[in-house]
């Protein structure tokens, strides 16, 4: 039996989670709860979680506001404290990696290999990276031409509302929380309702790491009430959301009433361009990984394969062959390559896209069905699916499916590849596969996307800013740029002349 299965046997389900406000776990004011199920076994309830309402959200915002305005625990001013708390958080996440990974897999459906080897270590990476930056946000100073001194000071924006999605519950929560906290902001998080509790486990860890009360608060509940309160409330200074495009636009519109800082990551329909001079097997592996990683439930998924016509047939055959070898199984199993989709609703949507692909004339080459084999019958499992002959007027070419469905379109020339790649409302990421560096760089330059991988796919280390062009969003997460989303700039202008009559005052005062 694997370590994860052993750990699962020791868990006493369902787990129980409350809201986290002002350093305490508290029930919601209505005392309502909701349940989270295991997407790989829908009859299994993993957790009961407190369901917040608007009043709970307002209270959490007030607490975060108060903590910021009164510099609670010296959080706003003591960068050494912030560095210590964030770094220790990373360290303790690593110490508890297997337990957190197990919970992440149970709630999200993703494989334990992904949780253990990618998501949870990456979460620790994120906290540690931003810990290292906490004391290094200095601004700059310089003497002006007239000898006066300018000091450009960076200050935390204030209270941040963070709304992460369910596909990478901890990684995306951490990439919002950690930079905000590093610069001295206080935070209210509303996690996704399918996966609300691993962040609450991290909060327990952060308490041990020395987190002052009120600095980080978690409210679990509905988007239209709790989420909307976070967006509208004038006591919130910045909103960072990962979600659907119209939701992002609505958030921006609502947040405009109090001119909040906004950071939005809103999806992608990312092209993988494979030229005929690419290393064949290397590109096949990158394409297969790029679509099935995390069940395709990723804004970064390489869901459109644009492949040069000269190798098209052979390349698709090999992708199909490898797609059929992907082991679909409950994520808790060590041999699972692809786990369950998050919900029945998501499964239905993915199957609906597959149906539309067939109806609109695409050629189904692999998968295309819900899987019913023994062990999969109680979960939301869809086969790795490949459609060939996809044209730009098909829904599966244009719309983000958020599932394991690859749409293949052949192209003849470099120009056509670029035109197809950019024929999307999104511009989050892209992959380019070629042995010709000049061609790869020409293509990269022409692609309207926030990240372009050349001869690899999906790597998004914390050092690299992540975000999109066009409808894929606004602002950047990760890297140094993420800090800017949570900072205000203050100019301190210091007169060094000491003159009673300063030259510019003569515009009004004659002597």
């Amino acid at each position: 039996m694997t370590a994860a299965l052993q750990a699962l046997e020791k868990l006493r389900l369902p787990l129980r989670y409350d809201l986290y406000v002002e350093g305490q776990f508290v029930k919601s004011s209505s005392d309502k709860t909701f349940t989270c199920i295991n997407p790989a076994k829908k009859t299994e309830t993993i957790a009961r979680v407190a369901e917040a309402n608007v009043e709970d959200a307002k209270h959490a915002i007030d607490i975060a506001r108060n903590a910021f305005d009164h510099n609670r625990g010296n959080w706003v001013t003591d960068y050494k404290l912030r560095e210590k708390v964030l770094f220790k958080t990373g360290e303790l996440i690593r110490e508890n990696l297997n337990y957190i990974a197990l919970l992440e897999t149970l709630s999200s459906g993703k494989t334990i290999r992904t949780s253990t080897r990618a998501d949870i270590p990456r979460t620790a990476d994120i906290f540690e990276y931003y810990a290292g930056l906490a004391g290094k946000v200095h601004g700059e100073s310089f003497y002006l031409r007239n000898g006066d001194l300018s000091a450009i000071v960076k200050e935390p924006v204030g209270v941040v509302a963070a709304i992460p999605p369910w596909n990478f519950p901890l990684v995306i929560a951490a990439r919002k929380i950690a930079p905000a906290m590093a610069v001295g902001c206080t935070v209210v998080v509303k996690p996704a309702s399918y996966t609300p509790f691993t962040i609450l486990e991290v909060v327990k860890i952060m308490e041990k790491a020395g987190l002052p009360k009120g600095v980080l608060n978690v409210v679990t509940g509905p988007g239209a009430t709790v989420g909307m309160e976070l967006v509208r409330n004038p006591k919130v200074d910045a909103v960072t959301l990962t979600g659907e495009t119209s939701t992002g636009r609505m958030v921006m519109q609502e947040a405009s009433s109090s001119l909040k800082h906004i950071s939005l990551e809103l999806g992608g329909k990312n092209p993988q361009i494979v030229y005929d001079d690419a290393n064949f097997e290397e590109a096949v592996n990158g394409v297969v990984f790029g679509i099935y990683y995390n069940q395709g439930e990723s804004c970064g998924a390489g869901s459109r394969l644009l492949v040069q016509d000269t190798i098209h047939k052979k390349f698709v055959e090999r992708v199909v062959e490898k797609s059929k070898r992907i082991k679909v199984a409950p994520g808790i199993r060590e041999d699972s390559d692809m786990g369950a989709l998050i919900s029945e609703d998501q499964e239905q949507k993915v199957l609906e896209y597959i149906k539309s692909g067939k109806e609109q004339g695409a050629v189904l080459k692999a998968g295309g069905d819900k899987l019913h084999e023994p062990g999969l019958e109680d979960g939301f499992f869809v086969a790795p699916t490949v459609f060939d002959g996809v044209t730009r007027d098909m829904r599966i070419f244009q719309e983000e499916i958020f599932g394991p469905v690859l749409a293949v379109t052949p192209f003849k020339t470099e120009e056509e590849a670029l035109e197809l790649a950019n024929d999307s409302v999104y511009g989050l990421a892209a992959g380019v596969w070629s042995r010709d560096p000049a061609k790869a760089l020409r293509t990269t330059r022409g692609i309207k996307a926030g990240t372009v991988w050349i001869n690899t796919y999906y790597l998004s280390p914390v050092e690299n800013p992540w975000g999109g062009y066009k409808y894929s969003g606004l602002g950047r997460e990760f890297g140094l740029e993420a800090l800017d989303e949570f900072l205000e700039t203050k100019v301190v202008y210091f007169d060094t002349s000491g003159a009673v009559h300063k030259p510019h005052e003569r515009l009004v005062i004659k002597e």
Partner: protein, 113 residues
């Protein structure tokens, strides 16, 4: 125009919800086909949503205007768009207004005859 070839229909539950929410929220409701990320393409009902130049009005259901992104609309040519709604068991993360009534809008497409 593409929009002339997309027909809109709705189920009795969807109609009931639109009427109820219009009563509560006034006459400024808009149904938009959102897209991307964890909600992918799904109907979203908002109050006072600013559609902008990239969206096209495709008609209305129960007096509520329906908007699509123009670029995505071309994939719906020749279809009948049917708005439906089903009950939800837990909290929805969507900002769409019907979630406050314990429902989530869905849609399906039917090929026109």
């Amino acid at each position: 125009m593409l929009k002339a070839t997309l027909e809109l229909e709705s189920t009795p539950t969807a109609k009931m919800l639109l009427r109820k929410l219009a009563e509560k929220n006034g006459q400024t409701l808009i149904l938009v086909m959102g897209g991307g990320c964890c909600d992918n393409t799904a109907p979203q009902l908002y109050k006072d949503f600013r559609t902008g130049p990239s969206m096209e009005r495709s008609g209305e259901i129960e007096g509520v205007p329906v908007y699509f992104e123009s670029q995505l609309l071309r994939a719906y040519v020749g279809s009948t768009f049917v708005l439906d709604a089903s009950p939800i068991s837990g909290p929805s993360d969507s900002l769409s207004l019907e979630t406050t009534e314990g429902y989530r809008f869905r849609f399906y497409l039917r090929k026109q005859d």
